[in-house]
Amino acid sequence: MAQPGTRLVFAPWNDPEQKPLIQFKNVTKKFGDFVAIDNITLDIYRREFFALLGPSGCGKTTLMRMLAGFEAPTSGTILLDGVDIAPVPPNKRPVNMMFQSYALFPHLSVWDNIAFGLRRSDMPKDQIPARVEDMLRLVRLEKFAKRKPHQISGGQRQRVALARSLAKAPKLLLLDEPLGALDKKLRQDTQFELMDIQEKTGTTFVIVTHDQEEAMTVASRVAVMDHGKMVQIDTPDRIYETPNSVYVADFIGDVNIIEGNVIDTVDGKVSIEWAEGQPRLLGTVGEGVAKGSRVHYAIRPEKVAIATQPPADRANVIEGVVHDIAYLGNISTYKVELPGGRMMKAQVANDRRIARRDITWDDKVWLSFTDTAGVVLLG
């Protein structure tokens, strides 16, 4: 790995010199009257781990199936390495896919499943066994080569599917909800394994998922989709910290959203009136926000501090009563009722034992946050 100090940030999307591996240009896909993909333009770069994230039916799977060759765009072009791939059938594309159901061939052993694609490539016959062994080693399944898919566990099947799709060393690997069938613990381990394998092989990965945590963990960039449109394409931290819309803020993680009117903007700071008799919220001016506009103020619960005494030095302080406490082990979420009935969530790391917790139900508390903690979103 790179040494500290000489480390290069991997961000080819910021480098105008870089040529994207995949380019979607005004791609639209319709099924009858239903628009699955609505005029999408998107670049994906070499060695990227790119996540397509969205609720079911948002078009992310269709987008992936168009890359694999199982669907053709209704209009627009998809370029792979600068070449239009529309006329190329799936079996001729340098793209492989890992299916949600794994789609392992039940009549073939693990070994033959992995060798399946190699036997149909131009690889010389005598090199195939070595390549299969390499793949088995990569996913740590050397001992299971002779087994049939139904004789191994779900996690092992998942790794066979991964090995099979990587065996032909594709330019691009597509992963369709690859970890959906695994339980939570195994899923987290496998996420790190996936990242490891992606780094080792240097393959470009495109993953489709509805699990935002998974997308944030594995991806170099995340594209949030809704109804066939790209809502935001950005790095996980920027998606989380600076969502560009209420939809993204709400879809990714937990968030408090407060609707209000902009009263004033001074020196890049904005003050928002959100409820009668309450102090105005102070925030940082967002894009297109001007005096008088209707805005949503989005703030993550972990950026809201909770205290039994009014804090002195915070830009925003709101008084309330503890309505509910959710204890999650490592953190606790306090649901605080503000005057007027509105709820606001504050999250606190449990760095003390629970017996010493000094805030409990129906306590009067003060919520506070800085003027840079939240995002001001239009609309």
Binding site: P90, N91, A103, H150, R157
Partner: protein
């Protein structure tokens, strides 16, 4: 499941099975009769089975029947599988409902009508009636049975397996050959066995389309019986019954076992 066997259930079961199998049982028993008189029991003997081997007419009829059954069930399996594949996989196309209805129509068509229609077709085509026309007619009426068996298997087939094969570099035909066919093989085999047994004991359609030189075993038996039932026919029928029984049982065992295995796999997958 642990219900007691009531007298009503027992009676119904006995009556039902007696109705179904008593005639055949009597036939099988009398095939081992030592007497030449069919209705008089004169002790156990396998004599008629021995004489059967030397009966040229029966043997040649059996040979024709076997040829017809093997060829027609094989061709019917190929055609029926193709038809099922198109019906299940081709998705929606114009006239799909009509087509699938037409594939299954011969299932319910009276055999007399199929036979007559076949006869008229062969006459108008100027085909000489014989083994070849019997084979053609049998292909026609057994194909739909194969198609039903195979399409019910294909309906539960995970389509992403075929997509995975394409994705890994298969041409569509290669994907069918090396992925789809091995997986649906049990259904195809049981379809073949079904077609084989149907062809083996068909009388009505064969009667219509057979020529003078091509007498099948059921036809031979039927005409022999009109001159009086001989113990030889009993013996022959017993052999036929055993062949058909073995065919049907193995067909159902093959499909049942593959279904059970598939269920077990799905269960395992769910438990992960």
């Amino acid at each position: 499941m642990n219900r007691r066997f009531s007298w009503f259930n027992a009676t119904a079961l006995t009556l039902g099975f007696a109705f179904l199998y008593l005639p055949m049982l009597i036939l099988v028993i009398y095939s081992f009769n030592a007497s030449k008189l069919v209705t008089v029991w004169a002790g156990f003997s396998t004599r008629w089975y021995g004489e059967l081997i030397h009966n040229e007419a029966f043997l040649s009829a059996a040979w024709v029947t076997l040829k017809v059954a093997v060829v027609s069930s094989t061709v019917a399996t190929v055609l029926g599988t193709m038809a099922a594949y198109v019906m299940v996989r081709a998705g929606r196309f114009w006239g799909r409902t009509l087509f699938s209805g037409m594939i299954y129509a011969p299932l319910v068509m009276p055999e007399v009508i199929t036979g007559l229609a076949m006869l008229l077709l062969f006459i108008s085509l100027g085909l000489d009636r014989g083994v070849f026309t019997i084979i053609l007619a049998h292909i026609t009426f057994t194909m739909c049975f194969v198609s039903v068996v195979v399409s019910s298997r294909l309906a539960t087939f995970d389509k992403s397996l075929e997509e995975a094969a394409l994705d890994l570099g298969c041409t569509p035909f290669d994907a069918f050959k090396s992925v789809t066919l091995p997986i649906i093989a049990p259904a195809v085999i049981s379809g073949w066995l079904l077609a084989f047994t149907l062809s083996l004991d068909d009388l009505v359609i064969s009667q219509f389309v057979a020529g003078p030189s091509s007498t099948t075993l059921p036809m031979k038996i039927f005409s022999a019986v009109r001159l009086g039932v001989s113990p030889e026919i009993n013996a022959l029928s017993t052999i036929l019954i055993s062949i058909v029984t073995i065919g049907v049982i193995s067909a159902s065992l093959i499909s049942k076992r593959s279904i059970a295995r598939q269920r077990a796999d799905e269960q395992k997958a769910l438990q992960q």
